[in-house]
Structure formats: C-alpha cells, structure tokens
C-alpha cells in the first residue's frame, strides 16, 4: 500500500494510488479493454454500462491511441499512445466532486497550496453519439481531468445519469512529479535497482508507431477493414436473439461493439494517414456513430442493460 501522506515517486505509484483510492470508494477496479481505443470512454464498462437502469461503479486504466498526436516521442507532452484513468459511477453520487477532490489528495496534490477550479467544458463524442455536461478541472491553470455527467449515449437518454471522471495520466503525473518532458518521467521508483523512465518504456514505440501511422499504414487495407468491421457489426446485431444451438436468448452486443471500436480506430488511422478529406470526415464519423447507436439499442435489450423477460417482475 502506498502512503498518501507522502509525495508519489513514480508514474506507476500515481496509478496505484488512484486504483487504491477508487477501490476504497467502492468501485470495481477493472482492467483495460483489450482493444485499440481512442479514449477510456470507449471501454464497454463506460459506453455500454452507462446505458440502462442497472447501478454501476467501475474504475480502470485504459491505454488510448490517437494516431494523429504522434510526435516520434519528441514533444514534451504529446503522444500517440497514452493512458487515461477512467471512473464511471451510475447513478452519479451527490458527493462526486468531493470524491474526485479526494482522489487528487490521494496522489499528493495538497488542496491548501493549489488552486483547483471547475471550468465549464461540455463533452461530446460525435462518434459515440454521446454528450454530457461538466467541466474540465484545472489545477493551477492546468487541465488535469474531465468531469462529465452523461446525458446521452448512443442516442439514448441516460437514466439514471452516470458521473464520469477522466484523468489524463501522463499530464497529471508530470505535474505531480514536477517533470517537464514526458519521456523523463520515472515510470517506477527511481530508487529501485532497475529504474525505468517513461522514455525507457515508450520512446521507441512512439517512434515506430508515428512512422507507421503517418507514412506506412496500408490505407487500402485500412479502408477495407473499415468496411468489413461496419458490415460485420450490423450482421452480428441482425442475428436473431434466440440462439438456435443453446436455445437461449443471447444478444451479441459486445462482439458487435468490438467491431464498432475497430471501425473507430481504423478511422483514426486513416485520418492520420491524411486520406480522409474534410467532407468525407463527417461521413465516416456518421458511419461509426450509426454503429454505436445500434450497439446501444441492442444493449438495453440485454440483462446488463436492464432488460427483463416478459412476465418478470
């Protein structure tokens, strides 16, 4: 267990403290989703679980990819692969702001010395057909988190409303640890026999992916995969709900949603390759949104989405 009264020493300690904090506050600490996503919101634990009436509380780290943000590891705070820390609680508790501030204290931000502000920032994800109201949270003028009350996801009104917290881990950790370049940030404890910096772990991959994202990724393949993912997503959802083999009702939301996630990431890759024109952009985003909507429609037809068989109380 880390001691929250002392300053954290590494990137991973900040993550561990957040995990411990939110576990103590009753969240299920999940693991990252095993697919390429653009943000923690795409994890089905957020997108799908924010739908329907079932209560939910989860926290997790999500590796996120934004191919266009790649800078070959040169930029002090821009990466094509980075970590988000995501918390989703449904219904949003009345003391969510206080819970959130507690998490900042847990990672060593002294509320008596810093200036924390909730600055209007309404969140919208055109690809997920989702929006919410909230703030970006500033610590001494720096955005350290996004705080959102989900109002709509996949075109569905959220009822009850989920409270979502997203921490940009690298930026937050750099601030807490007083590091100016992300690659210089200690990943593990600098006092250990084998100290590793963020750069030791990720500098090379940032270079490799930046080159691939911008110049090498085969756009024909990506375009074809996009079309395939789109088609397959629809096919999965069009399958009858009753499984002929087991004779049970199985709505395959998650497999379909995986295809939606794929399509979204493929779009991001195509965007980074610069093959999508301004006018086409909207069309692609609309195609992914249509998939997200279909998945949301299907999710509320499942038990986790609050569906009950006819005649059930």
């Amino acid at each position: 267990m880390s001691d929250t009264t002392t300053a954290p020493k590494s990137f991973q300690e900040i993550i561990l403290r957040l995990q411990n904090y939110w576990a103590a506050k009753g969240c299920a600490v999940l693991q990252p989703y095993d697919m390429e996503v653009g943000a923690g919101t795409f994890h089905p634990a957020t997108t799908l679980r924010s739908l329907g009436t079932q209560p939910w509380a989860a926290a997790y780290v999500q590796p996120s990819r934004r191919p266009t943000d790649g800078r070959y590891g040169e930029n002090p705070n821009r990466l094509q692969h980075y970590y988000q820390y995501q918390v989703l609680i449904k219904p949003s508790p009345p003391d969510l702001q206080e819970l959130y501030l507690g998490s900042l204290e847990a990672i060593g931000i002294d509320m008596a010395l810093h200036d924390i502000r909730f600055v209007e920032d309404d969140w919208e994800s055109p690809t997920l057909g989702a929006w919410g109201l909230g703030w970006e949270v500033w610590c001494d003028g720096m955005e350290v988190s996004q705080f959102t009350y989900f109002q709509q996801v996949g075109g569905h009104d959220c009822h009850p409303v989920s409270g979502e917290l997203t921490y940009g881990l690298e930026r937050l950790a750099m601030y807490v640890l007083g590091v100016d370049h992300v690659m210089d940030m200690p990943f593990n404890d600098p006092q250990t026999p084998i100290p590793l910096s963020y750069g030791d772990v990720f500098k090379q991959t940032e270079e490799e992916y930046a080159r691939w994202n911008f110049d090498v990724a085969d756009t024909d393949v990506l375009l074809r995969h996009f079309d395939e993912a789109e088609t397959h997503c629809r096919e999965i959802l069009e399958a009858p709900h009753d499984d002929p083999k087991t004779g049970t009702r199985i709505v395959m939301v998650h497999p379909a949603y995986d295809q939606c996630i794929k399509a979204s990431h493929l779009f991001n890759l195509l965007d980074a390759r610069g093959v999508i024109s301004v006018t086409e952009r909207q069309a692609y985003i609309g195609r992914v949104r249509a998939l997200a909507k279909l998945c949301a429609d299907a999710f509320v037809q499942t038990a986790a989405g609050g569906w009950q068989p006819e005649g059930a109380a």
Partner: protein, 754 residues
C-alpha cells in the same frame, strides 16, 4: 414587512451563464409574486460560481384579499346559460345575486379571492421558477429528473423581519429549503445558517465568498492594475475577460507572473490571445515598448505560500502553451518568407460553399473585382489585386488554425514578412472590417478595394444562388456584409455605381461558376466507387451556357444512360435583373437603418431612392441629407404641404379629365398677381435648380425649392384652380404640373409622409 432571501446553491455554474441566470431568477420570482398579488419594494440579484442569490425587500406579508364582481346572464335566462356562467366562474347558484338593471333582472357573481401568506406564494413561485428555469443548457444528475445547469445541492429560502427568520416550506425532488448555506469550497466549506440578507453577505465574506460579481470584478481590476503599476507596467484592459474571471472565483486572489524570455518576441496579439483563450490570463504590457511582458492570473484562494505554488504551476502551463504558439509562428514565418505558395495551394481544397466553390476560387473572383474597383477608390490596380490574392492566405497558417480570431492580423504580419508592400499587408487585416456597427471602416485605398470586393463577392454570390437571409436567419452574415459596403462607401465618400458593380460581378460569377448552381451533381458509378461528380449545366436563359459536363468521360457516361441528373435540391434560380434589383434593395434597407440612426427619416430616404442613380450611395445620401435639412426649415415643411396640394388637385383633375396636364403653362393667361408672381418664382427657381442638380449641389437645389413656399402658398390663397374659364383652368393645372415636376426633379416628394 418581511424581506425575502433566496439562494440556489449548486455545483459550478459556467461563468458565461451566471449573470443572465441571476437576472432570470429575479424576474421570474418577482413577476410570479406580483402576479399573485405579492408586491415588494426592491429586489437585487447576485451570483457566484456556485450560487444564484436573490434578495427582495419590503414584501407584503400577505397578498390582499380581492373581490371581483362579474355580470352574468339575465335572471330569466335559460337554465343552460346560467349553468354555463356558474361553471365559468367556479361558483354555485346560491352565490349569485339578482339585481335590477335597466335591462331587467340580471345575475351578478361576487368572487372573493382570499389573500395568501407570502410564504405560500413564494414557495409556489420558486418551485415553478426552478422547474422551468431557462438555462441555455441544462442537465439531469443521479437518479432524479430535475433539470438544472449542474447538480443543485441546496435551497436557502427565508422570509425575515425584526422578529426573526422563517424558512419558506418547500421541497423539490428531495431538496428541502432551509436557512443554511456553505462558504468557500476549500477555505471554509462548513455550512451555516443565516437570518437575513445582511447576515448572509457578512457571514459569506467571513467564509471567503464575495457575493457580488461587480465587487469581485472591482477587486480583481483594482489589485491587478496596482500590481502592474508597482512594476512600472500596465494592465491590458479586457472587460469580457474580467467578467468571465469574476465568474470563476468566489474569493479572488490576483497573482502576477512572468512570461519566459523565449516568448517575448511573439506578436503581442498572439501572446494576449493565447493567454486569454487558454488560461484566462490578463496581459501586462510595458508602456515603453508596447510589449507584453507579464501576465496576471486570478486564483480562487489564499495559500500559506502566498500563491507561490499556484503561480509556478501557471507559469509552467503557460510556457507549454506558448511553446506551441512559438512553434506555429516560426513554421508560419518560414512559409510566409518563401512566398506563401503552399498556403494558397491549400485553399484550393477548402470549400467556401458547395455552390460558390473553394476559397481559392473565391479569391480569384475577389482579386478580379478588386482590380476593377481599384481606380474608383484611388488604389493602384496591381496592388489591389495582389492584396486580394494574399489577404486570405493566413487561413492556411498554423496560427490561425489554432486561433481563428487572429485571422487577418496574422496575415498582416506574414505578408509583411514576405516583403510585400505595407499597404498590401494592411489589407489582409483591414479587409474584414467593419465587423460591427461601431467598428472602424478601412480608409487606405488598397484595403478599401479589397474590403469592398470581398463583401460584394459574398453578397452577389449568395444572391445569385438565392440564399438570402430570412427573418433572424443570416448564417453567412450577409446583413453585416451589406452594412459594411454601405459604411465603407459613405464614410470614404466613394462614388461607386453599385448596380454596375453587382451586375457585372454576378455575370462574371455566373460565367465562371454558375455552372454549379443548378444541377451541380451527377450521381452514378464513377471510377468504381459511389461518386458525386460536379457537372456544368445551363443556369437559365439569361445566363451563359457553358459546356454542360465537367469532363468528356462524364458526358460519355451520361449519354450512355449510366448517369442521371440529381433532381434533389434543384430549384429555379432568379434571373439576373431580378437578382441585381433585389440585392440593391437589400443595400437600401441597410442604408435606411444606418441613416435612421443618424436621424434621417425613412420616408426621406425613400423619396431619394426613387430617383435615378440610386445605386450610387454617396449621391443618394447627399440628396437625403439636403432634403432632410430642408424639411427641418419652416419653408421646407410648408413647401411639402403646397406640393401635396398641387399634386392632389392635379392628379384628381387628370383622372377626371382623362388628360395629362404636363406643359404649356403660359404667364399670359395669368389673371392675378399671385399667379404671375408664381410664374416668376418658378422661372427663377428653375434657373437655380437645374445647374445645381447637375453639379449634385442638392443643398442649393433644396433651398431654391423651399423658396417657392411663399409664392405657392400665396397662389393657393388667392387663386381658384377650377376656374369657369376652361383656358384659365387648364393654364392653372399646367402651372401646378410645373410645380410638381420641379419639386420631383429634386426628390420624389410624393413619398414624404405628413
């Protein structure tokens, strides 16, 4: 009489909404109270990031009991009628009273409305206010269904007098109104109760909350200016930012920080915009050099280290931001110094409007038009064209991508860096002006040429494709563009035949781009993919026919029946003369608004618009001013009466006789001195007016015209037009015709009202 105090305490309200929300709270609550008969002496509203507060003083303890008397049907009316009346009044038969009236016995109802307590009314009004509050955007939270801008946590609602405070009983979705509130989120978070407004503000201040946004703004402004002054610097005023920042803090603490030396060479506007947009910092300028050297940030708390940690954090964030800005600036300068070609090239891929082509195509049009306009405004044609070609290049720059509000200004820097003439560089910034009614208009000839060309191209284009503003919808700011043209022309005293300008430009537009306006997409399989292919086609019989297809391949496919016109969205376009007339009258409408603000009546403008040459706005306004001045004199005012009388008699006679009395008035048929005097006066006035009009000296013309007032009045006084003698009558009618002709040669006086 009790005072009412209401506080709605929530999570952080967006700064831009606070002021309006507090005003809405005041209006909705006080209106609701008054409607329920609960009057008050005064009310005031306040807001902080977490609360909307309303204080109402001198509230009636109870609404008065009112009695309303309503007249019903006659006592002997059918039962159905009486029942209907009872239903409408919500009464029973025994509550009606029968009275004798001149029309017989009539039933009267006395409806007494019992007064209600202030608490009861306030509870009702406040609940309705909260449930129907007009937030620009509102949300739900938790499992509830109440909507508010952000989660609403508590309601303070008390009525207080000398005896103490009474909580207004009210509960909305589990939130029970009370007499408690909380202090500053971090510095004094405990909740406490209050007994009245003074107690409330005093306790809030002790709990590190300044309730009044004006007071917070004052504190910020005062501390910031002092802090800057103490360092020999000055604060750059920004009222919008001040109001916003005052809405982000409950306990403002002003801190001044340094901008790292690396960034001091950035253009001051870039520093200022980056600091304001991203960080909500004020800029602090060195008055000697004009450079922005420091910043001021406003924290929401005091700290043991006097803000040192906060300031260090803010400086760090700013450095990261400015490193981006510097990166953009340096990259942009490289492109600029090499001639900006890649930027212009990039504009070929930026659509301005589907039917009006890309930005690059638009620039071509503007450049051609600027060239044409240049001599009129005293600019060199080559320079005007060059300026127009470069004026929008900065739209492709990284800096303008990041800060769109710097468009034009960055263009000026970059064009100057490219070694172009200063007048060409200035046009990049100035050609967007004027942006608002109070914004200055460009005066430098090159800027004027480009500004006019830019606006006329926009207007002509949207008119040609028939996308004019309707009602409140004006997505392309065409009203602003037209007012811009009006102001540039008038304030520079430019002589410009807009009609020709518009007409020729539209013809040019149609010749080059009109092809896209009607059927502009062909559907079909092209290059193996679903594709929409721009096609060229006839617009209308008035306009030029171009090759109907963009490419030979397209035509082959069309001929083979593999392509078909897309019928969707097709609508017949107006013809050229209609377009020009409609656009000219749009300019005239803007002109009327503009001149009305300067005290010139709309009928005076109408009288001048009806004259020839009305597309020369400068001429039009000269005429209108002269007419307006003349009408302010007693002679002028009376002349109008005389003119109208002459015109009426003449029109009636012409209608009755079926002839036109238009010439041949001869002094030899004059019978009276007044008649002869009028002849003489007209001769004299004509001799003055005609040359004056030729020289566009409307003042002289109007004065000469007004001088006719005396002779005309005397003429009508002494002479009967419809004389028995037909010759005399005809002569007098012809004389009237001379009056009206002379008068309307100056302006169409028939349009003057009154």
């Amino acid at each position: 009489m009790p005072d009412l105090l209401i506080e709605l305490f929530s999570e952080e309200i967006p700064a831009r909404m606070q002021r309006r929300a507090a005003q809405d709270l005041k209006k909705m609550v006080t209106d609701g109270m008054v409607e329920a008969g609960l009057t008050y002496a005064s009310a005031a509203e306040f807001s902080t990031p977490r609360r909307l507060t309303l204080t109402v003083e001198g509230v009636l303890a109870n609404s008065p009991t009112t009695v309303e008397e309503r007249k019903g049907p006659r006592a002997d009316a059918p039962e159905k009628a009486i029942e209907g009346f009872l239903r409408g009044a919500g009464l029973t038969r025994d509550q009606l009273e029968e009275r004798e009236t001149p029309k017989g016995p009539v039933l009267f109802a006395r409806i007494e409305k019992q007064g209600r307590s202030a608490a009861e009314i306030v509870a009702e009004v406040l609940e309705k206010t909260i449930r129907t509050f007009p937030w620009p955007k509102s949300m739900r939270w938790g499992a509830g269904s109440l909507r508010w801008v952000r989660p609403l946590h508590s309601i303070l609602c008390i009525l207080s007098d000398e005896a103490g405070a009474e909580v207004v009983p009210l509960e909305i979705e589990g939130i029970v109104a009370g007499d408690r509130t909380a202090g500053h989120r971090f510095m004094s978070p405990d909740r406490f109760s209050v007994v009245n407004f003074d107690d409330y503000t005093a306790k809030l201040k002790r709990a590190y909350v300044v309730l009044d946004p004006a007071e917070r703004a004052d504190v910020i402004w005062h501390d910031a200016t002092n802090m800057a002054f103490a360092s020999g610097l000055e604060l750059v005023e920004d009222k919008g930012l001040l109001a916003e920042v005052a809405g982000l803090v409950e306990w403002p603490v002003v801190l001044m920080g340094r901008i790292a030396d690396d960034f001091l060479d950035l253009p001051p506007e870039v520093l200022q915009t980056s600091m304001k947009e991203h960080q909500k910092f004020f800029s602090v300028r060195n008055p000697k050099t004009g450079r922005i050297e420091r910043f001021i940030t406003v924290a929401n708390r005091e700290t043991a280290d006097n803000g040192a940690t906060i300031l260090a954090g803010n400086e760090k964030v700013l450095s990261a931001r400015l490193a981006d800005a510097k990166f953009f600036w340096e990259n942009d300068l490289r492109v600029a110094k090499a001639g900006m070609e890649p930027w212009l090239e990039q504009l070929k891929n930026v659509t301005f409007h589907a039917k009006l082509g890309t930005q690059a195509e638009r620039i071509d049009r503007i450049a051609a038009l600027a060239r044409v306009l240049a001599p009129t405004v005293g600019a060199h044609a080559d320079q005007a064209e060059r300026a127009a070609r470069l004026a929008k290049a900065d739209l492709s720059s990284e800096m303008v991508y990041e800060f769109p509000e710097l468009q034009g200004l960055m263009g000026r820097y970059y064009i100057a860096a490219a070694g172009e003439d200063a007048a060409v560089a200035a046009a990049a910034e100035e050609h967007y002006s004027p942006l608002g009614p109070s914004d200055e208009v460009p005066t430098a000839p090159v800027s004027v040429a480009v500004a006019l060309a830019d606006k006329i191209d926009t207007l002509a284009g949207f008119w040609a494709i028939d996308e004019k503003p309707t009602g409140s919808k004006d997505p392309f700011a065409l009203r602003r563009a037209a007012l811009g043209v009006v102001r540039i022309v008038l304030e520079n005293d430019t002589t410009l035949q807009l009609g020709d300008g518009i007409g020729n430009h539209i013809v040019e537009l149609v010749r080059r781009w009109g092809a896209r306006w009607r059927v502009y997409y062909l559907a079909g399989e092209l290059e193996g993919r679903d594709h929409w292919q721009p096609a060229m086609i006839v617009v209308s019989e008035d306009t030029v026919i171009e090759e109907p297809f963009s490419s030979y391949e397209t035509k082959k496919l069309f001929d083979a029946g593999e392509l078909a016109w897309d019928e969707k969205g097709e609508k017949p376009l107006p013809k050229l003369p209609e377009i020009c007339a409609s656009l000219l009258s749009f300019f005239h409408d803007r002109l009327k608004v503009y001149l009305r603000d300067q005290g010139i009546r709309h009928d005076i403008i109408d009288a001048c618009i009806a004259m020839e040459g009305n597309d020369d706005l400068t001429l039009l306004v000269k005429r209108a001013r002269a007419l307006s001045d003349a009408l302010k004199t007693e002679d002028g005012e009376n002349l109008i009466q005389g003119f109208k009388r002459a015109n009426n008699i003449l029109t009636q006679a012409e209608a009755a006789d079926g002839v036109e009395y238009s010439y041949g008035a001869d002094v030899k048929f004059a019978e009276t001195d007044e008649e002869r005097a009028l002849f003489a006066a007209l001769d004299q006035a004509e001799a003055q007016i005609e040359p004056a009009l030729q020289q566009q000296d409307f003042a002289t013309a109007m004065t000469a015209l007004a001088g006719l007032r005396g002779p005309i009045d005397a003429f009508f006084e002494a002479v009967m037009i419809n004389a028995d003698n037909a010759t005399v009558r005809r002569n007098r009618l012809n004389l009237l015709s001379r009056i009206t002709k002379l008068c309307t040669s100056v302006a169409d006086l028939t349009r003057i009202e009154g």
